[in-house]
């Protein structure tokens, strides 16, 4: 093969990034990104403006700050300043923003850590001239819903809770005062006042089509409306809502302030760039081109829609920053799922949510530290001894050594050691430590604290692990049964000489295997959507009731299962087709002459012949399925309330979604490895005993 072309492409592309003196990271898309880039270029032509996927921005910045390699300027939501503070430079405002809440959001202890750039909060988007006195008074369109917002995201539910509770107080969640709001939401979704399970895009489409009277949404929605609709809508601050007779509240949404941060090492030119981008002079352009709301009242006076959003921002509540909030999203999402999709008692749900949040934050107790140290020393001593022994044997056998072998093994060894063995060992060490980003006291400067076997004790003593283990085993077994069964059946069908166009079927049926699995997973997620998914459309067409697939464990588990069987059966089919070719033709003919039925031939000839050939593929597929992160994470996403998560997605959540608990994540990974190796050993033994 010709190596030159890709290599040259790589070299050219890596060297093309000549020294750029300023780097700016953000996570805007579309018009907002284009406007930002144009403005930044105008201030500083040699700036490198980098759009990072929204879900990766904060992790990347945290990592970059940890290794002292941060970009000069970062535009991000304000909540991160507590975590990033030690990497950020204090700033002085150029033009002082008018919006007090925006200044508060970027300041700590009287120091400003960023320039408020754009404020974002939700408000009510409704038909012109039809602002309701209360949300309850919204009219119901024919075959539609009075009010729409994404009921699966706590961000949109928050306005109802935030006027009743501060949400986060001293590191814990306070939800009980908001119980009337949750009760109202449950009733509103039961009454089809608010649609369930519709995402932003579907809500927008229904609003355009007149099937939803009003939406709770943010300024980003304006850019997506057609010009015709845009001319006939208004935005208002959220009107009051009657939760119960005699109990009326005015919803208060979260306020997020996109801020421009300058990092510590950045040159003065970075401060100049940040001040200019945040300036009053650029505000008008950003309003017109990007529908952004700068923190200057006069910049949006001519834009009534944005003005209304800005008005709402004044009474909005700045999103709390810090790890108590960042660990709260998952439990809160589980709470909303429980409120909307189940009949469980609200007080129980709230207690469970508060407990889940506490569990995410509680430091791991140190356990069995001495044992780990002693075992560690013993292990190292054992390794040294065995190395010495094999070195001795090696000297004895030196004459038989093939010197040229070194050239064959060395490259793989070097790569393997550097990028597989070392990360693995470091990862394994992590399972004896507890990590905390805001760690202080017992935590080292990098945030680590030795806890011995504490992580394992904490995991194994909770019920969560055992449930997840059960789900993982159920997941692996059902997947294997279905994909092997289906694979063998289809292979037998395709192998039968009476089927015309066999080649074509084979090519078409291999397709699911060829599509990257993250793409199939996202497509299936959409297919099973409750309101707009193709599967429910078919069910409706057949006269059946639509199913809220992600609301209950069984149906949610089935969506994962169907997706994975779809992905996995072609592999089994291909393996079976290959295995079928190994069946001796003479034996088949002999059985046919003996008058054996098709079933007899299958049981007595086909199965025994293909089983040994397929066994390794089945074993391999077991390990893959056991750790099939993409499907579980992207299709059901753990719904309902994390119940369909498997061990590996649980490990991922500990590492990246629950306050970076790397130690617990590593311990989960070790447990996964132990379970898999026990399974392999068991398979080997049962194979030998047969």
């Amino acid at each position: 093969m010709n190596l030159a072309v890709p290599l040259i492409t790589l070299l050219v592309l890596s060297s093309s990034a000549a020294a750029q003196d300023l780097i700016l990271w953000h996570s805007y898309r579309g018009a907002e990104a284009q406007t930002l880039e144009a403005l930044a270029r105008r201030v500083h032509p040699a700036v490198k403006v980098v759009a990072i996927p929204a879900d990766k921005l904060s992790d990347k910045v945290s990592n970059a700050i940890a290794i002292d390699d941060a970009p000069d300027v970062i535009i991000s939501a304000h909540e991160k300043i507590v975590e990033w503070r030690h990497g950020l430079a204090p700033v002085t405002f150029g033009d002082e923003p008018d919006l007090g809440v925006a200044i508060d959001a970027v300041s700590r202890d009287g120091v400003h850590y960023g320039h408020p750039f754009a404020v974002k909060s939700v408000a009510l988007l409704h038909r012109a001239g039809r602002r309701p006195a209360t949300l309850n008074a919204l009219a119901r369109p024919a075959n539609g819903f009075p009010l729409g917002f994404d009921l699966r995201e706590f961000y949109f539910v928050a306005p109802f809770a935030l006027s009743l509770t501060p949400l986060v107080q001293e590191e814990s969640l306070v939800l009980t005062p908001a119980m009337p709001a949750f009760a109202w939401l449950r009733q509103a979704s039961r009454d089809h006042f608010i649609p369930r399970g519709m995402n932003h895009a579907q809500l927008m489409a229904d609003f355009e089509a007149g099937r939803i009277e009003a939406l709770i949404t943010g300024p980003w929605a304006l850019g997506e409306l057609s010009a015709r609709t845009l001319a006939s809508v208004e935005v208002s601050a959220l009107p009051p809502v009657d939760l119960a007779p005699g109990q009326t509240i005015t919803p208060r949404p979260f306020l997020t302030v996109d801020a421009i941060f300058v990092t510590k090492r950045a040159p003065e030119s970075a401060h100049h760039l940040a001040r200019s981008l945040a300036s009053r002079a650029f505000a008008k352009e950003r309003v017109t081109l990007a529908q952004q709301i700068p923190p200057f009242a006069d910049s949006i006076v001519e834009r009534p829609l944005l003005l209304a959003f800005a008005e709402q921002a004044r009474s909005a509540i700045p999103m709390p920053s810090g790890r108590a909030m960042s660990a709260a999203w998952l439990p809160l999402q589980h709470l909303v799922e429980g409120v909307v999709n189940t009949n469980e008692d609200l007080a129980t749900l709230i207690a469970a949510t508060e407990a889940e949040h506490r569990a995410f934050l509680v430091p791991v107790a140190s356990r069995g530290g001495t044992l780990v140290v002693v075992l560690g020393f013993a292990g190292v001593a054992g390794l040294v001894l065995s190395a010495l022994r094999s070195a001795k044997r090696a000297t004895a056998r030196r004459r038989q050594q093939h010197q040229p072998l070194a050239g064959l093994i060395a490259p793989a060894t070097v790569f393997g050691v550097l990028f597989v063995l070392v990360p693995l060992l470091v990862g394994l060490l992590l399972c004896f430590f507890d990590f905390s980003e805001e760690g202080s006291g017992a935590y080292s400067a990098m945030g680590f604290r030795f806890v011995g076997l504490g992580n394992f004790v904490s995991i194994l003593s909770g019920t969560r692990f055992w449930w997840t283990l059960f789900v993982t085993v159920l997941w692996t077994v059902t997947n294997l049964l279905l994909s092997v069964g289906l694979g063998v059946a289809i292979a037998l069908l395709l192998a039968s000489p009476s089927l015309p166009l066999r080649g074509w079927f084979r090519v078409l049926l291999v397709l699911p295997w060829a599509v990257p699995n993250y793409i199939s997973a996202l497509a299936f997620r959409g297919l099973f959507d409750v309101e707009r998914g193709a599967v429910n459309h078919v069910l409706l067409w057949l006269g059946a009731a639509p199913v809220d697939w992600y609301a209950r464990f069984f149906t949610s588990f089935c969506t994962n299962l169907i997706t994975n069987v779809w992905l996995g059966f072609p592999f089994m089919m291909v393996v079976t087709l290959g295995a079928l070719q190994t069946i001796p033709q003479e034996q088949r003919e002999a059985m046919l002459l003996d008058g054996a039925t098709a079933w007899q031939r299958f049981v007595h000839l086909t199965v025994p012949s293909i089983a040994p050939v397929m066994a390794p593929a089945v074993l391999l597929s077991t390990a893959w399925t056991f750790n099939m992160f993409n499907v579980v994470y992207l299709v059901s996403g753990g719904s309902p309330r994390g119940e369909t998560d498997i061990l590996v997605s649980e490990a991922y959540r500990w590492a990246f979604e629950r306050g970076h608990r790397y130690g617990l994540a590593a311990a989960y990974c070790v447990l996964i490895a132990v379970i898999l190796s026990l399974f392999m050993a068991w398979m080997k033994r049962s194979k030998e005993s047969v």
């Binding site: 890709p6 980098v50 759009a51 390699d69 093994i409 393997g416 993250y518 793409i519 996964i672």
Partner: protein, 266 residues
């Protein structure tokens, strides 16, 4: 006569079953195609225009370069190691084999954080070279394990004959053994390529500059937290799937023969 009718009936039945099942299997793919080419109820290529405006063509090219180089490097190295392990006894062979299996037991989550710091120490963070190095090494254990099966299937007499002809291990590797396991190489390479081509988490963690983003990163960028461009995403999905499909079609025969041949040893 009777026999003839039953064959016809049977082939009709088989045909119906196969067609129905195939349609069912292809439905999700049809849905993606529809999202990519239909906008506001009519055929359009606007999704593709938005996709390319987001820098997708360069991302595809980069992904391709990264995946090809990673595959070639990884499989070449793996082939050398697998050959040595299958045909010779040497110090560390047993430990090496054990480590290959051992490393496959752990999920990738465990190594992603340490890898970040290793790449940083090597000064390769944010560079495509770093990503290529990681991709090629991550695929090595699996590739060695697969190729081991193919090498072990070759008869021992082959080595003897090569040795008598005065071939060094290197010569017998390149001239005798490698050509004989070509189907195995193809299958292994396909796996290594697919892994690199589809990888998102590591790439998104290591790469920071948009002119180095690979295709999966750009695709994920289209799926925003508040708004998602499903049309452009579907359009990109089709483009990303095409190369893998093409390789699948080209390698159909080797894939089937290869997988079973490689798996016989267990």
């Amino acid at each position: 006569m009777i026999n003839h009718t039953s064959t016809g009936l049977r082939s009709l039945l088989a045909m119906t079953a196969a067609s129905l099942f195939t349609c069912l299997v292809l439905l999700p793919i049809a849905w993606v195609v529809q999202r990519a080419f239909v906008e506001h109820g009519e055929w359009s290529l606007q999704s593709y225009e938005r996709l390319f405006a987001a820098g997708f063509s360069r991302a595809m090219l980069l992904s391709f370069a990264v995946a090809i180089v990673a595959t070639i490097v990884g499989v070449t190295f793996a082939a050398g190691a697998a050959f040595a392990m299958a045909r010779y006894q040497f110090v560390g062979r047993r430990q090496g084999l054990a480590f290959l299996l051992f490393s496959q037991l752990f999920p990738g989550v465990l190594t992603s954080v340490p890898l970040f710091f290793i790449l940083d120490a090597l000064g390769l963070l944010g560079s495509l070279v770093g990503v290529v190095l990681v991709y090629s090494s991550v695929s090595v254990p699996f590739s060695v394990w697969m190729l081991l099966g193919y090498f072990e299937q070759l008869p021992k007499e082959l080595d003897e004959a090569a040795r008598l002809d005065g071939a060094t291990p290197w010569q017998s590797f390149t001239r005798v053994h490698l050509p004989l396991i070509r189907p195995g190489l193809a299958v292994t390479a396909l796996y290594a390529f697919m892994n690199a081509w589809n990888e998102y988490v590591l790439a998104a963690t290591f790469l920071a500059k948009p002119d180095r983003f690979t295709a999966p990163i750009v695709l994920r960028q289209l799926v925003g937290s508040f708004s998602t461009d499903w049309g452009a995403f579907a359009a990109g999905s089709i483009l990303v799937s095409l190369p893998v499909m093409a390789v699948f079609f080209l390698l159909q025969k080797q894939l089937v023969a290869g997988l079973t041949a490689g798996s016989v040893k267990g």
